[in-house]
């Protein structure tokens, strides 16, 4: 796999996947998931080593691929068939096909003659027609967006009055690493399910899980299970006082 791959050249994880599928000359409808997952993860890994930010969406896709891969390796159980259909790749394939189509349309749009790029209309040249009757300011076409934008603009200029709150959902793996470590510092042993309370969002769960994997890899936490299918327990693998230095390095993981 070539080193030159840059995530910013791809408009998203689906785009990157399509690229991998094409360069491996695979059929979208029959992706060799193990190969693709390995290559995808290798690219993400490279980006991290180069200290580049890897956007959450790319990590999310990594988790999805791992999930599909693991399901394809598992013996087919009835429960799973009922739950998610026969081929674990199905949903991904659908998304890829659909995405491929819009990518093609986008390409078609780029090539269509565009106003003010390829095609021009005459320039408003009225002889002897005074235009001073119109307001001298820029005219704005009507639309709800323009209306909201105008108000928004005003509010931005007058930050003293706050009428709204902004809610941001930022899922960063390093933040979750810190949170997990913090929780485990307070309470030495905690079960896995405690980290996934009811009502958690799917994306949040995935990032939490990625953070745990990262902690295992760094040998900072232990994962134990007393017997098959019983509760999984997490605990710190190193004394809490040693963690501060470890934390600082997490930034270098490339999780942004």
């Amino acid at each position: 796999m070539s080193i030159q791959i840059q995530l910013e050249n791809f408009s998203g994880p689906l785009d990157l996947l399509l690229h991998l599928i094409k360069s491996n000359e695979m059929d979208i409808c029959d992706i060799r998931i193990v190969e693709i997952t390995e290559q995808y993860l290798a690219i993400i890994e490279q980006m991290k080593q180069l200290d580049l930010d890897v956007a959450g969406e790319f990590l999310l896709m990594a988790a999805t691929l791992i999930h599909i891969k693991s399901r394809m390796l598992l013996p087919v159980s009835e429960e799973l068939v009922d739950e998610e259909g026969e081929d674990p790749r199905e949903e991904l394939i659908k998304r890829l096909l659909e995405y491929q189509r819009y990518k093609d349309i986008a390409e078609h749009f780029q090539q269509m003659p565009q106003l003010d790029r390829d095609v021009f209309c005459g320039f408003f040249n009225l002889s002897d027609v005074s235009t001073s009757e119109t307001e001298d300011e820029v005219q704005i076409a009507v639309g709800v967006y323009q209306l909201a934008e105008a108000f928004h603009h005003l509010l931005k200029e007058r930050p003293a009055e706050v009428f709204h709150e902004v809610i941001q959902e930022t899922l960063s793996v390093s933040d979750y690493i810190e949170r997990i470590v913090e929780r485990l510092t307070h309470k030495k042993r905690q079960c896995l399910s405690d980290f996934f309370p009811e009502g958690s969002q799917r994306t949040e769960m995935i990032v939490t899980f990625l953070a745990m994997l990262e902690l295992v890899k760094m040998r900072l936490i232990n994962v134990e299970q007393i017997q098959d299918f019983s509760e999984v327990w997490l605990s710190l693998a190193v004394p809490a006082e040693e963690l501060t230095s470890a934390n600082a390095e997490e930034r270098a993981l490339g999780y942004g």
């Binding site: 969406e57 819009y102 003659p113 095609v119 021009f120 209309c121 076409a141």
Partner: protein
């Protein structure tokens, strides 16, 4: 009568956006049908005469535009006020054009990435319209393409876009737009 044709031509030329028959009818106080035949005559005349520009039917109106095949020369004018569209922007625009009315989560599911920034850019460029709110929990805003979108690409209406079938119909099931499956998108 010939004076009327001259006026129609002047109005279309002077208007800053495609002029509809309705608008012409108001401006000239003449029935639409009469004006339609005049406009059609004009269209044919320009088409027949191999000029530098022609009378195009765009977004439900009429506008003089340069011939698309002259594009390579006209670029030299360097008046390129056009905005270069990033691939992300074009992709988003394509999705919205074909799937409107569509909400932001639906777009993001199809693209696999956060699209707020791109959508804001497209809204600022007046290529999108907010079509209302969807009657589902959370009442997300629904988006569609604007009139300006049609003008940008010189389309009479959205029907002028190639059908989805023309694009990579690898999977016959996909030729019909699928209902969205947003449960899985979260």
């Amino acid at each position: 009568m010939d004076n009327l044709k001259q006026l129609v031509e002047a109005y279309i030329f002077a208007a800053d956006s495609p002029l509809s028959l309705d608008r012409l009818s108001v401006l000239l106080e003449r029935p639409r049908a009469e004006l339609r035949s005049i406009v059609e005559q004009l269209c044919q005349q320009y088409e027949a005469s191999d000029r530098g520009f022609y009378l195009a039917e765009i977004a439900g109106g009429y506008q003089f535009r340069t011939q698309p095949d002259l594009a390579p020369y006209l670029r030299k004018l360097n008046k390129d006020r056009s905005t270069k569209f990033s691939r992300a922007a074009m992709e988003t625009l394509a999705i919205i054009a074909y799937r409107q009315p569509i909400t932001r989560p639906e777009i993001e599911y199809l693209r696999g990435v956060d699209s707020g920034g791109v959508m804001k850019t497209l809204l600022d460029k007046n290529l999108l319209r907010i079509l209302g709110k969807k009657d589902v929990p959370g009442r997300p805003l629904m988006y569609g393409t604007s009139r300006h979108f049609l003008e940008l690409f010189g389309l009479r209406s959205l029907n002028d876009l190639p059908t989805l079938k023309e694009f990579s119909a690898l999977d016959p099931e996909l030729t019909e737009a699928e209902p969205m499956n947003l449960e899985k998108a979260e």
